[in-house]
Amino acid sequence: MEIKNAVAGTLESGDILIQIGPAKPGDTGLAVDLESSVAAQFGKQIKELIAGTLKELGIENAVVKATDKGALDCTIRARVTAAAVRSTGKDVWK
């Protein structure tokens, strides 16, 4: 699946900004870079959720930069899904 650079979300409190792009040449897998106001307590959970959501959408190779301002799981899933749809052009909601 072709991955283009795409963005979803905002930097508002309670939201998360997801920036997705193609994996670096030669790299495989999902590289999730997370900056979060709740990193100490929820960093692991959030990274797993981002990677898990992308895999469910069939994205196995990508670079993700996530800037989190304390978003809940439902918000994170929605933003990651929106970024993935914008990135791949494949509408998962139909």
Binding site: A40, G70, A71, D73
Partner: protein, 473 residues
């Protein structure tokens, strides 16, 4: 004039007999606009002092320059009610050898009065003073530069410190009465350009929260107050300054007008909201240890029934005449409440110090009914938790916790729970609230605390309640 105490800051310090290792004190009535702490500590550093104990009534973001003076060994010990900003962040990461001592406002007042916290030299900023040291937190002269209102937290220092230096930006003719600090307690008077930026005491104007969750919480809290059994003619009340607490006053006011109920007094940090109710005749007297905005500061200057009190008169646990003993209802906020009703208002859920004990311990303990208002979650941060990060106010002092998911009542107060249920309010088990939070956000990982003790939390009776450890990144 004869016997003038006017002198320079350096000369005042020299005259005070201050030596390395001694305790200096400050008040925080200018809050984020304070200029006295940094000015005096800069001067002490320049004069070569070391190993001083800084005992402030509180410290905030504006005191970040102290970091340098801690690194240089000028300040080696701190006692305060709270810490915020970069100074708090550095201390949380282990900046100081000695842990910071945290006391409530009432606890600090009684510790000073009882000699447990001995102050060698107090440096007290004032918005006006005469040459002998009659000083207060406002000025009636044309040259008035600053206003902070009540000097309540400075009064124990003025009375009990060995040596008192008043620092003012408006020297007025003798006698500067009515006064807060008496010339009888003052050794030196220093005139400077500015003691503080009054605009930073608060936002200044009454600002109603437009956050719909704050409004919901405020309405719920008002219903708790109104149906608690304590909402009767002549009741007394204290509130915090958060969005929700401020809004509570608005909804209680409506009910007071409707039912023809008036309050005998409002206590504590006084806000423009409280001044408004007082001026409308809904609150008979204001008892003010700290003016939270300019409106309150102006009111204390102009209204004889808006009374300044010292931290001891306000909230001491050992002085039975302190005002909190007469307080019916207090509405407080919290960073965290746990299933045993313990409250944390000092350490953030990232383990970093970001708040102040203030009068939380004092008012919760001595009021007839203490109500904590907090959302279940702030973003992903839970506010109702299995166990608080740091214990500040013991659960036995806390009666009701209001969240948007329901109202929890301390099992020790079944009669309050019964009244609230009868009024149709949603009373829930606090364990259910904690479980609800976990169901939304998952279970947080443990915070990366280290082995170093960076803070010690005292209860208002002088006993140690908890220790704060350094945070490792």
């Amino acid at each position: 004039m004869r016997n003038s105490k006017l002198t320079s800051l350096e000369e005042a310090i020299r005259k005070s007999g201050l030596r390395d290792g001694m305790t200096i004190s400050f008040h925080h009535h200018f809050r984020g606009g304070d200029k006295v702490v940094n000015m005096v500590v800069d001067c002490l550093a320049k004069m070569g002092f070391k190993d001083l104990h800084l005992a402030a009534s509180s410290l905030s973001d504006v005191h970040a320059p102290l970091i340098q003076h801690i690194k240089n060994g000028v300040i080696t010990k701190i006692s305060t009610s709270g810490l915020r900003g970069e100074l708090a962040n550095e201390i949380s990461h282990g900046l100081m050898k000695e842990p910071v001592i945290f006391r409530s406002h009432g606890g600090r007042g009684s510790a000073i009065a009882c000699g447990e916290l001995h102050i060698d030299v107090a440096f007290l900023g004032a918005s006006s003073s005469d040459e002998l040291g009659n000083a207060c937190g406002y000025s009636r002269s044309e040259n008035a530069k600053s206003i902070c209102g009540s000097l309540g937290y400075a009064l124990p220092d003025a009375r009990y410190a060995d040596h008192v230096v008043v620092i003012t930006d408006d020297l007025v003719s003798y006698p500067n009465v009515p006064k807060s600090i008496s010339a009888a307690d003052v050794e030196s008077v220093v005139v400077v350009d500015s003691v503080g930026d009054s605009s930073k005491i608060s936002a200044g104007a009454i600002r109603d929260s437009k956050n719909p969750r704050d409004i919901l919480l405020a309405k719920q809290a008002a219903k708790v107050v109104i149906n608690s059994g304590y909402f009767q003619d002549g009741f007394s009340i204290q509130t915090g300054t958060g969005g929700a607490s401020l809004a509570v006053v608005k909804y209680i006011r409506e009910s007071m007008l409707e039912k023809g109920i008036k309050a005998s007094f409002a206590l504590g940090g006084i806000t423009a909201h409280m001044v408004k109710l007082h001026e409308e005749g809904l609150i008979d007297r204001l008892i003010d240890v700290q003016s939270f905005d300019k409106v309150a500061a102006e009111s204390i200057k102009n209204d004889p029934f808006h009374q300044e009190v010292s931290a001891v008169e306000y909230a001491s646990g050992v002085h039975q005449g302190s005002a909190v003993h007469a307080l019916d209802i207090v509405i407080l906020s919290a960073l965290e409440v746990d299933v045993n009703f313990n409250v944390n208002v000092l350490v953030g859920s990232d383990g970093i110090i970001r708040g102040a004990i203030g009068g939380h311990q004092d008012t919760a303990a001595d009021s007839a009914l203490s109500i904590i208002v907090c959302p279940l979650l702030r973003g992903r941060i839970p506010c109702v938790v299995p166990k608080v990060t740091t214990l500040i106010t013991p659960g036995k002092s806390v009666d009701v916790v209001v969240t948007e998911y329901g109202i929890a009542v301390n099992p020790a107060r079944p009669e309050v729970a019964e009244k609230l249920r009868a009024a149709g309010l949603k009373v829930v088990d606090i364990n259910e609230l904690a479980a609800k939070a976990t169901s939304i956000i998952g279970t947080p990982d443990a915070l990366p605390f280290g082995d170093k003790v960076v803070g010690i939390v005292y209860n208002r009776d002088g006993k140690v309640l908890d220790e704060i450890h350094n945070i490792v990144e």
